[in-house]
Structures are given as C-alpha cells and as structure tokens.
Amino acid sequence: MTKKITIEPVTRVEGHGKVTIHLDEEGNIVQSRLHIVEFRGFERFVQGRPYWEVPVLVQRLCGICPVSHLLAAAKAMDVIVGVDPEDLSPTAEKMRRLMHYGQFFQSHALHFFHLASPDLLFGIDAPVEKRNIIGVAREHKDLAVQGVMMRKFGQEIIRLTAGKKIHGTGAIPGGINKNLSPEERDFLLKGKNPLNADKMISWALDAVNLFKFYHASHRDFIDKFAAFPSNHLSLVRKDGALDIYHGVLRSIDQDGNKILHDVDYSDYLDYIGEEVKSWSYTKFPFLRHLGKENGWYRVGPLARLNTCDFIPTPLAQKEWEEFKAYTKGKPNNMTMHTHWARLIETLHAAEVIKDLLIDPDLQGEELIRKGDKKFEGVGVIEAPRGTLFHHYKINDDDLVSMANLIVSTTHNNEPMNRSVRLVAEEKLAGQKMITEGMLNAIEVAIRAYDPCLSCATHAMGQMPLEVSLYNNENELIDRFYSYRRG
C-alpha cells in the first residue's frame, strides 16, 4: 500500500505551506515535497501607487519582518530619486543600519529562544505539550525572560527609528525622516537593566555559548541532521566583511570556490533565474550560469557566515573564527549549524547597535538627499532569513508600473525541500506508524531556515500544521492538528 503523508497548515487567508511524503508498500520514501502556496498579489497591489508610498506599503507584506521590506524598498527608491545607496547622508545610512540591526537582533532572538530552543532543550522527541516556549518558560525561566527582553529591546530600536509598529515611516526615498535624539540614544545605550546595549551583548554572547555547550554533547545530531552540500549566496561588503545592509552579491560552492564574484546587485536578473515547477506555486531560484540543476543555493545565516571573509566586530569575529575552524575553513554545510550562525549574527548585531549608538552621526541634521530621477531601481538587503530583492519601475506619472520581489524563503525553497527529503528518509522510511516526534523532525529541518511563509506566500503569516495520512486509494486514514486559529 502506498501512503501519502501530508503536513499542512490551516490558514485564515490565502497562502500556506504543507509537506507531503509518499511511502510505498514497504514504507520507503517515494517522494517528499515542501509546497508553499505562493500568492503573488503583492506586486499587483503596489502597481499604480506613487513610488514614495511603496516603502510604507510593503511593510504590510509581512508582520514578521516589515523592516526588511521597508529598507529594501527604500533602497530601490533611493535609486529612483537619483541617490546612490552608497551616497546617503551619514545620518541617514546609520539610522537605517540601526533600524536594520535592531530588527535582526529581535528576529534572531525570537527564532532561537522561542522557536529553536524547545527542540534543543527538550529534544525533538519530547512531548509536544512541553516542546514550546511555554515549556521553556516553565523549566528555563531565565532563558525565556532573556528571549522576551531581547525581542523587546530590538522592538524599541525599531520604534525609535521607524517611528511606529505599523506603517513605520523612518526610511523614505533618499534618506530618513528622523534622527535619533540624545534622549532616545541614552534610552537604548544606558537604559534600565536589562534593556540596554551592554546587557544585550552579554546575553547574545551567553546564547552563543549555550549553543556551543549543547553542541558539545549532541555533536552527532547537530552535525548530521539534514546536512547536505550546497552553494551559498549573500551580500558581502566590498572588502568581504559581513554586511547585512549593503554590499555586493557573492556566491560560493560547497568547497568555497567563488561562483558569483562580488557583482552589483542591480544586475541580479543577469545572474539569478527562477524555475517554475508544476507542483509548487513557489519558484526555485538558481544561478543562471550553473543552470537549474546545479545553480540552487542557500541564503540566510549559514550562507552569510560562509560567504563573508570576516566579521567587523570583535566578539562576533572571535566566534566566527571558531565557527570556521570547525570545518577547517571550508564552507559549513551542516543545516543545524544555521542556529550557531544565527547566534553569532545576533552577537554581531548587538555589537553594531552599540557602536552605532555612540556615533554622533545619529544626531546629524542631514536626513535626505536627492538627485536626478530614474525610472527603475533595485534594492537588496540581507533580511534575517536571507537575501531580499525589491525591484521597481515607475512611469512618467511617478506611479509604480512594475514590481518584482524575491524573498529569502523563496531562495531557500530547494534547500528546504532537500532537508525534508533527508529527514524523511532517516526518520520515516520503513516505519509503520508515524509519531509526533517523526513529524517534528521534519519541522525541525524546515525550522532551521526560519522560513517566513508570510513573505513567501505574500500573506500574513501563520504556520500551524495539519497532518494527514492517506492510503494508496487516497483515503484519509489519520490526521494530526498542531494548531488551528480560532
């Protein structure tokens, strides 16, 4: 009997993901696929709107990382108002960086403390009732409080730089609309414990050490779970440093050879293609010169720490050196090491935040610059989950006539599918009964990428799961719900 296992979320609006796993009569994996039902309405939504509205509009795309979309769109609109992204005023660029690193910090904190830590602290086979943030809060209260407060600190940075939680207007074409007052600076720099930059650096370092402590006693799991060789792609600064706000596009192969040589991201269409597969609404990006079969790549924390040559803050650089030494300088292709990379980036973000806060340019008065208008602009940024592309064209009436977005989760489509396949083969093949732990193993593999189906589907995001088991006659023989929104 052939079985079909479906892991499917239930959503209120369009856009969702599901995993289907087909087993043959012996229980071998015949096929496994991660489906993300992509909704491409957003590009249409911004068409016909004035270009200056776009940075605000795109934040509505995702409640998880609105700042990434705000900044990617603002960078594209910088080009349209004739300002080279490298020629913003120092105040504008540094305010944007503070906003972006603040978002990075809170997003990565959310992922580690609230999404990943339950799997690590309790094990992926632990009861589902325990394996969540409430379980962490109950048994590791200090850790849970750290996670909440790190999120809160990052959100405070966003509030003070973007203006407000919904429809923030901090970044506008050609610059920003506010600087950081000395009072706001001191609130973040010297705030009441624990909400200050020094405590955040300390906690971020503790989190890296927590991962390393766990890794030391679970090497087999962390090193081998869903691990596979891949290409990696990200922005890097022109000197090769890790830079999540601006840079050039670099890609390396599984051995560390450069396969995309620090190119201008404005030309991304020359380098990146998107394959359409009949069974998925989500495209599969690939490097054109390597083709669809060999040109796929990972983006995100693991990719960034593989592509960069160094990290320009001391504590994170030290951790990065240890990270690199683990693979003897070669690219790290261990999927679960994405958590390690994410925490090193969290530490880096905290260090950058402090450096920016003591920079007097944040109190500068030159907020905006303008140049000769153009009719097309590309903005690229490293979102927490990976490289994010925004591309717009406008017409003579200053209205958007074309929009194209490639989001991080779409880049990771092929790697996530490969991870699902590997875990399915290891955990589900030959099994006669599907347990909660087996299914969570699939989720753990996907979760390492921190996918944002909100972005990939362009819907507001929830990723609850419905798990259905079918026989070869497509009869439902079992179903699991992990969550349904009421």
Binding site: F45, Q106, V128, A137, R151, K165, G461
Partner: protein, 170 residues
Amino acid sequence: MIDFIPTGVARILIYGFGNPSRKDDALGVLFSEELEQWASDKSYKSLSFDANYQLAPEDAAVISDYDIVFFADASQEDIHDFSVERVMEHQKAEFSLHYFTPGNLAALCQELFHPCPEMYEVHIKGYEWQLEEGMTKKARNNLGLAVDFMKTQLKSLLAKDHTVSKNFIA
C-alpha cells in the same frame, strides 16, 4: 457577552492586531485606533492603546504592566457581528511561533511575569481577506457596533474618577 462591574482602580490596555492591507483583517487595528481617538477626545487618560500586525512574545512583557487587556481581532468564526470572550491560557505548541494568540501570551505572561492581567478578546466578524485596502460594508458595520459597545463599557468603568474594575464577570 460579558458585563463589567467597576470596583477598583485598574490600568487598561486596548490592543488591536491584524493587517490593515487585507480588507477586513484591518478590524482589530481600527478598533484600537477608533477607541484611541475617542479616548483622546474625552480625555480618558487612564486608557492605553497599542496595535500591531500580529502578537509577539515580547507582548507578554507589555501586557504585564496592565491590570486588564482587551485584544481585538478580525474573526471568520461563526458569529453574528462581534463577540467578547475571556482569554484562557493556551499552552499548545505550534509549528511556528511567529504568530502568537492572546491565549499564548496569557500563558507566557503567567509563567514569566505573573500575575497576569485579566484578558479579553473582542472578535469582530470579517468577510473578505484579500490584499486590498478598505473593509467590506458589513465589516465596517460590525466594527461600529463593537466600538459602540466598548465605549459604553469603558464609560461605565471610567465613571468613578476614570477608574475601572479588576473583576469582570464573564
């Protein structure tokens, strides 16, 4: 529906969530915004307001500063126009916790910052969710009814020196 009985001083937060660009998903945010404008006009300074696309773990710290929290969200459940229910702790795991429910927050707040505030959720019936600005006529009508209801309740609660109850009866 619940009745509110004012018996003491309380700090109240009204927190709407949803995506204003997805038709009727704007209901929660607009609920908060309309009541904030009303409170401002009436100089009800003891009320606080917040809004976001969705709830997140750090909101557990936010709500811990209050005695009573009213969440407001659009609903596709089988209700007529709107309903108010007490939030019960919800500890079940989800595949992703990018999205938090009021029940998740109640459970997290209770564990980390107890005592947890008394929490209620206002569900306002919505009908369309596509990526488009502007609510349906029926949803806007439901919003008006929910806002009017809450104004009445809050006026009652604030009648004595702008103080409110800590002991609502569901």
